[in-house]
Symmetry: C2
């Protein structure tokens, strides 16, 4: 009866002096990072709540906890900004997310429009060691299947030199770099039209008042709605 003591599932990971954060905190950090984008305006509570699908009250409470944990600076009523620590956490999750997306697509053949939601869950549950094995298997890739850059092991991320397709004038264009991975229907649609990252794209015509945008992609013409065009990023010309 007195068998060897079962290995209790206690402190598993972490060699580095890196604090553990709950899944909730990880999602908030990622959301704030993505809302913060390039401009460094603080992010409003409502925007965070919106993106995470919770009420502003819940977000408000959570942001206070994040501030206690030193992941954000929070000036009540005026918004939050990630601290360096919060940004690291966000980038860590983004690295996980994009590595997992690429892995699922490349190694397991999961369709382009399905990898996002799977990665959304798994990103919180892989160890550093598994992250590294995946990155190695993929050859330390720089971009995920939607064209998004993957932060390096040291969490450096290539800065964004793209513009939204919806912001281009007629005659503008470049290489279609990436598209938000968050809407499977959009992904399926683009994929079915043969519009994939890496393709050359050019704006042929625009209609006023959010009308369709006519573009040519590798010879073919397509008319795209503005909401879609807003999510498509094209390499900036310089």
């Amino acid at each position: 009866m007195t068998a060897a003591p079962e290995s209790v599932p206690d402190a598993a990971h972490k060699a580095h002096p890196e604090r553990r954060h709950a899944e909730g905190a990880e999602n908030y950090a990622k959301a704030i990072y993505q809302l913060q984008a390039d401009d460094d305006e603080p992010v409003g509570t409502g925007a965070v709540a919106d993106r995470l699908g919770v009420t502003p009250a819940s977000a408000s409470a959570m942001l206070k906890r994040l501030a206690d944990d030193n992941l954000v600076e929070h000036s009540p009523y005026r918004g939050v900004r990630l601290t360096p620590e919060g940004e690291q956490l966000a980038l860590e999750m983004i690295r996980h997310h994009r590595l997992i997306e690429l892995f699922l697509a490349e190694v397991l053949g999961m369709p382009w429009d399905r990898v996002h939601e799977e990665a959304e869950v798994l990103e919180h549950h892989i160890s550093e060691e598994l992250e590294e094995l995946i990155a190695t298997k993929l050859g330390q890739p720089a971009r995920d299947p939607h064209g998004d850059p993957i932060p390096s092991r040291e969490l450096d991320i290539e800065d964004d030199r793209t513009v939204a397709l919806s912001d281009l004038e007629v005659g503008g264009g470049g290489v279609f770099e990436r598209v938000s991975d968050r809407d499977p229907e959009m992904l399926r649609y683009l994929d079915s039209r043969g519009i994939r990252p890496g393709a050359a794209i050019e704006v042929r015509a625009r209609d006023p008042f959010e009308g369709p945008i006519r573009v040519s992609v590798s010879g073919d013409e397509h008319a795209l709605g503005t909401p879609l065009a807003r999510r498509m990023r094209v390499s900036a010309e310089r």
Copy 2:
């Protein structure tokens, strides 16, 4: 500003009328299943608590919740038994666990003694679709890297025809089928001695009072402690 509504991360999976269970319930079901083993004695609260590393009080409360959810039958003070629904849940987790272990070892080259703890986490977070992709990639395998049988897609599991090495008499033996995956040190030790599932093993001598057991494995002799031998399963001779 009124962009397309972001896809909220609500009800994601489940085509089948399959209820969702929290991670906690999944772990309890698995623990009870494994404690129940073949004998169908009910499992005590303390044993469950022990295996999961929680206090008996916590387990007691949780078992009541599982009973409400129809995963176990609970007679107060006398123990729990899984319901068919609870057993399905346990087998589902065991299938996930063992597929993930094998996948990590085969596809990513993760060492034998590390796959368990990674799988312990991930088993709760893969979708049915990913489960299927993994199983396909591995060719619908029947056993994980420790030699444990993997339940089929329909959750049928091969019944156990093995005995503990510690229960064999001198002269007894058979094929070393598997070993508990829960103790990395044991795994590393066996691996370093070249004792791996599939090898022929025979008991050469035993000392009384839990003394070492001398066995031969593919020509070499080893002396194994009783606790270790208790966790090694050898194909039953008939």
